[in-house]
Structures are given as C-alpha cells and as structure tokens.
Amino acid sequence: MFAEIFIDPWVDMFAAPDFLMQVLWEGLVSGILYALIALGFVLIYRSSRIFNFAQGIMVVFAALTLVGLHAMGVPAWVSVALTLGVMFVLAVTIERVVLRPLVGQPDIILFMATIGITLFLIGLGETIFGGENKVMITGDLGIPTGDTVLEPFGGLLILQHLDITVVIVATLLVIALLAFLNYTQMGRAIRALGDDHQAALSVGISLQTIWVLVWFIAGIIALVTGIAWGARAGVSFALEVIAYKALPVLMLGGLESITGAIVGGLMIGVLEKLFEIYWGQPLLGGNTETWFAFVLALIVLLFRPQGLFGERIIERV
C-alpha cells in the first residue's frame, strides 16, 4: 500500500516522460482557462466586494449568444462584435437593476443576488437558444484545428493547435488586462476602488461607471473562455461546472489577487491532472477531478487563511 501511494506514481512518471509531458500540457491548458474565469471573479470582487457566482454562466451565455447569432446567419466576426455588445448591455442591466439597489448590503446577500442572476441567465439562454448542446463555430472564427506531434525522449507528445491557440490568446488577454489595469486611467480607477471605496469616491471616481466596466471586462473574458472551452467540449449548460472550478482557484490564490488567480489556476489545472492520472485512476477509481481542487485549496488555506497571494486579514474588535 505504501509503495502504491508513495513510490509507484513517481516510477510511472519517470518511466514515460513523454506521457508525463502530455499530462502536464493538458493540465496547463485547462489551468489557463480556470485562471481566465478566476480573473473575471477577481476583477469584480476587487472593485465591489461581490463574490460573483454568475461568472460561470456568463461564459455559457456568451458562447451561446455567439453560436446562436451565427446560426441566424450573421457572419462569424460580426457575431463576435454583436456578442460583445450583448455582454455590455448585460453589464449595464446588472449594474442598474441588481447592484445599484443592493449597495451596502451584506456580502452574502450580494452573493445570493448573483446566484439569482445565474438562474435568470440560464432560463433566458434556454428560452432564446434552446437547451440542447451546440457546436462552437471554430472553423468560421479561423481557429486552427489540426495537431502537431513532437517526439521528445523518443516518445510521443500531441499538441492540439486549438490548445496552442488558447494558450497564446489567453496569455495575450492577461497581458492586455494587466497593461490596462496598470497604465490607463480607467485601470487605475478600478484598482483605487479595490483599495478603498470611500477614498476612491472622494477623489471623484464613479462607482457606477467602474462597476459597468468591470462587469463588461468580465463579459469579454467570459466570451474568450466560452469560445475556448466551447471549442474543446461543445457549448451547453454543462459548461457551468467550470465555474465551480474557478472557486478553489480563487481561494487558493487569494480573492483579491490577480497574480493569485493566474498562479492558482495553473497550479490547480496541472496538479489535478497529475493527481487524477497517477493517483486517482489507479488507486481511487478515477473522476477525482471533481473534488481534488477543493481539497487542495482547503489544505493550503489551513496554513494561509487568506490564500497564497491574498491580502492579509486583519481583525479588530
């Protein structure tokens, strides 16, 4: 038993390094997508202290809108632009209808309201586009679909072009986002609001504008994630489960930290794949990916209650 848990997995890893690399690569790709969703969460959490549960469903909604518009005969890139428009309208509506009347309520009430938004969007998406599975318009958007086969260590490593594109686009998006947050006036306003609401308001930053802005950015991120994940797994409401995956990513990285979201996402993506392949399937009957991330985050939190990069929690009476 000891050997099975502590020795055999490592032996397996070194016996087939090409397979290990394949596992790591796939973990990395899903990790990047987790990180993207978590980024959407972090932006909204920082600027409004709202734990936005609806991020996952925004991914589905964006992907559905895109596919639905294209099915109505709109050209692919035009439907991307239109979907962005829809996400903007959504951001404005959420800010106006849901958030503004709830300013200053306890965190859990706002959290609940985002679950209400989730249900509403599920219903709306199903009403307009139907509940069945759809195929992402990968070809029309010009996303490459082939694969490259490498042969490291005399083995076999298959890199899907789609995955490579996802990694590149996600990285570019993160860089663009960081540049936006650090070097533009709007970005600085978002960060200021994250640091201190009162102070930000007193120097003339508009809460409402920033909230619309962060929800819109979260919508853009949702669209990119939706395209990437939809191309890998089809567009359906089952995509919503990846939203749950973003929660441990956030907790692990720390709720306020953008670095944390990225590092946490990559860590969880890679580690859960490794655990599933080398420990989960041989020893535990598989499918451990449903809970591994949560248990990992829980263990890390026991040592660092604010997550790896979160703001230190200071409590005063």
Binding site: L102, Q105, I115, G116, L119, G123, E126, N287, T290, L301
Partner: protein, 409 residues
C-alpha cells in the same frame, strides 16, 4: 386592527419573554397547526401531497438546519446537499443492516452520522473565515458526492448505483417505500419536522443560541467576553448537520423513494440556501415561508400553464384572486409599493396568459420550464432588493403595521 395588542398586559419577566408575547400570534399558530395537522391531510390530493406538502416540509427542515449554521452562527455553508446525502445513505445502511429497526428511530439516528461528518468539515472554520470558509464546505460537497458514487458498500453493491427505499412497516402499517400511502408519509414528516422545529426554537433562544449569535456578530469580540469559539462553532456545525441529515433521510425515504448520488449535488445545496436566505437568515419561521415560495411557486406556475385559468372552478378562481389580493394588501400595509405592483402585475400576467389560452395559445412544456427558471431567478433578485433580510423580516414589518392599521403611525 387585526393585531390589536391593547389590553394584553405583561406583569412578569416570564410573560415578557414568552414565545408568544402577543396573543394573536399564538392564535395564528394554532390556526396554522390546525390546517397542517387536520385540514390539509383530509383534503389534499395525491398531487398536492407529493409536489407541495411533503417537499415543502422537508425543504423547510433542511433550510432550518442550514439557517442554524449560516443565520445563527454566521458560518457560510455551500455543502448542505452533501450533508443531506450523508443522512440519507446512513439511514439506508441502517434499515438494510437492521431490518427490524423502527424507521422513525432510524431516520432520527441517521442525523447523528451527518453531524459527525459536519463537525469534521467544520474544524477548518476555526481558522478560515467568510467566503474562504465556503471552500471547506464545497470540498465536503464535492468529495462526499464522489464518495457516494465510488464507495459501493454504501449502496449495497447495486447495479444501478442508486439507493432504493425498501418497504418499511411500523406496527403493521407501511410508512415508507413503494407501498406506503402519502398520508402516512406526510404525518411522519410533519411529526419529525414539528419536533425538530420546537427543539431548534428553544436551542436558538437559549444559552447555546446566544453564544452562536455572538460568534456570528463578531467572533473575536465573542471570544473576548469568554465564549469558547471552538465549542460554539462546532456545536453549530453539529446541530445544523444533524437537522440537515434528518431532512436528507426524509427527502429520500418519505418523498423521492430512490436516489442517485447526483441528487445531492450542488444545485440541491443552492436550493436550500435560497430558501434560507429568501426566508430570512437568523429566523426559524422564515424557512417555512422561503420553502413555500421556492418549492411552491414553480408548482403553481407549472399547473397554471397546464390547466386553463378561465376554465377553473369558481371556487378555485376566487381563491386565486383572493390570494393575490391578500398579498398585495399585505404589501400595501407595509407601505411597500414595489411589492403591491409586483403582486398585481403577477396576477395580471396570469390573467393575460389565461386569456391567451382561451384564444388557442398553447406554450410547449420545455419553454414553460425555461421561463419558470427565469421567473424564479428574477424573483430571488426581486425579493433581495425589496427586503434583503428575507420574508421573515417582511412579515415582521407587516405585523407591526397591522397592529396600528388603519392608522399610519
């Protein structure tokens, strides 16, 4: 006027701290008890038992368990579904290992197992707080559901992987399983729910409840005034998980009849959390109001889509109208014009829909279900906006206004 308190004098501290300091409250509760214990069982149809009465009670019980943890002790939990599952599986193992065990005893004992698991997953709460704590309960949620699926001993190595409730009898009367009658199941659920509600009301009013509330309001301050945080938080997890576990056992044994592991997945947790929050965190009665709304509303909307409103019997139509007008009136008494508008708007929409049906309009059932989801989501947001503290607070406001009605002050 209806709630006139004039002439009800309190001459001792005991009278002042009584459960029902106002006589009308006690009378109202008496009427409700009469309804649920006598009138409903005598008049309800099979459909009403299975879609309204039994599930509302069970969901209310689960929400009460969650409310003790989240509303009274301030520890956010997103793992209610899994703890319900622990209760259900524990009960299933007990009745299959000891077939002669009294089913009610088995149901009450099954809560002890979920209490144990709840305490185990509650230990991190001593160090992790707020939303970060949600991760501990989410870990429980996903890990336990996975365990229900993979640990074949739990479901007696069934090929289906589901637990199937056997016929259980008590003194010659089937109380659970395919042969049990709905009325029997209803009375058992009602008895257990009533018992646990009384226990919970008194726990939350007593010493333990006060330590929970102090922990909720600010745990460091509570520690400073001498409350043992570990004891306070872990007892909250234990009591809460016990109640939730019993609700889970009832859910499978008295209502569903069979359950696969994914029944206990996260949507169930969220549904219970909705009930607790819409009902009002930190209240007992709110859980019932929340359950009536969240469980009852989709059923009402669904039946309204199936049956033609304009072809209902005159009595049913009048009840509909009276219900909507009563809700609008209560909102009006509470000076909540949004509420009045929403109630009347809802009534008008139903009438319009009924009229469209007489003109030959038929919505297909999938569409109705999707629109139902939308309406439920919108209603959650709506209720949070008009009263973030839940239906319980809304009732409290209405009651306060009723005392002075028809005068404004």
């Amino acid at each position: 006027m209806l709630y006139r308190t004039a002439g009800q004098f309190k001459t001792s501290y005991t009278a002042d701290q009584a459960l029902f300091p106002v006589r009308q409250d006690a009378v109202l509760l008496g009427i409700v008890l009469l309804l649920v214990w006598v009138v409903f069982p005598l008049t309800a149809s099979e459909f009403a038992f299975q879609t309204l009465l039994i599930p509302i009670l069970i969901y209310a019980l689960a929400a009460m368990g969650l409310n003790i943890l989240t509303g009274f002790a301030g520890q956010l939990s997103l793992g209610t579904g899994a703890f319900m599952g622990v209760g259900a599986y524990a009960c299933y193992k007990m009745v299959t290992i000891f077939p002669e065990l009294n089913p009610i005893v088995a149901i009450l004992l099954s809560g002890i197992f979920s209490a144990g698991i709840g305490v185990a997953f509650g230990i991190p709460s001593l160090r992790i707080k707020g939303f970060y704590l949600a991760i501990a309960t989410l870990a429980a949620q996903f890990f336990l559901v996975w365990l229900f699926e993979k640990w074949a001993w739990l479901y007696n190595y069934n090929a289906s992987g589901a637990i199937q409730v056997p016929n259980l009898d008590m003194f010659g009367l089937y109380v659970s399983g395919p042969q049990a009658e709905s009325v029997t199941e209803y009375y058992i659920v009602l008895a257990i729910v009533t018992l646990l509600t009384v226990v919970c009301i008194n726990l939350t009013r007593g010493n333990l409840g006060r330590t929970w509330k102090a922990t909720r309001d600010m745990d460091i301050a509570a520690e400073l005034i001498g409350i043992n945080l570990m004891k306070s938080k872990l007892t909250a997890f234990a009591v809460s998980s016990y109640v939730v576990g019993v609700a889970g056992a009832l859910y499978v044994f008295m209502w569903k009849g069979a359950a696969e592991p994914n029944v206990f997945d996260i949507p169930l947790s969220f549904q219970v959390l909705f009930i607790a929050i819409i009902g009002g965190l930190g209240s007992i009665m709110g859980n019932y109001l929340g359950a009536i709304l969240i469980v009852g509303l989709p059923v009402v909307l669904g039946t309204a889509a199936d049956t033609r409103i304009f072809e209902m019997s005159a009595l049913a139509g009048l009840l509909w109208l009276a219900g909507i007008l009563a809700v609008a009136f209560l909102f009006w008494v509470a000076r909540n014009l949004w509420g009045v508008a929403a109630a009347l708007g809802f009534g008008a929409a139903m009438l319009l829909y009924g009229y469209a049906q007489t003109q030959g309009f038929r919505a297909d059932s999938a569409l109705v279900e999707h629109i139902n989801t939308m309406i439920v989501g919108a209603l959650i947001i709506f209720f949070l906006i008009i009263e973030p503290h839940g239906l319980n607070q809304l009732w409290r406001l209405i009651r306060e206004k009723l005392i002075i009605w028809p005068f404004p002050h």
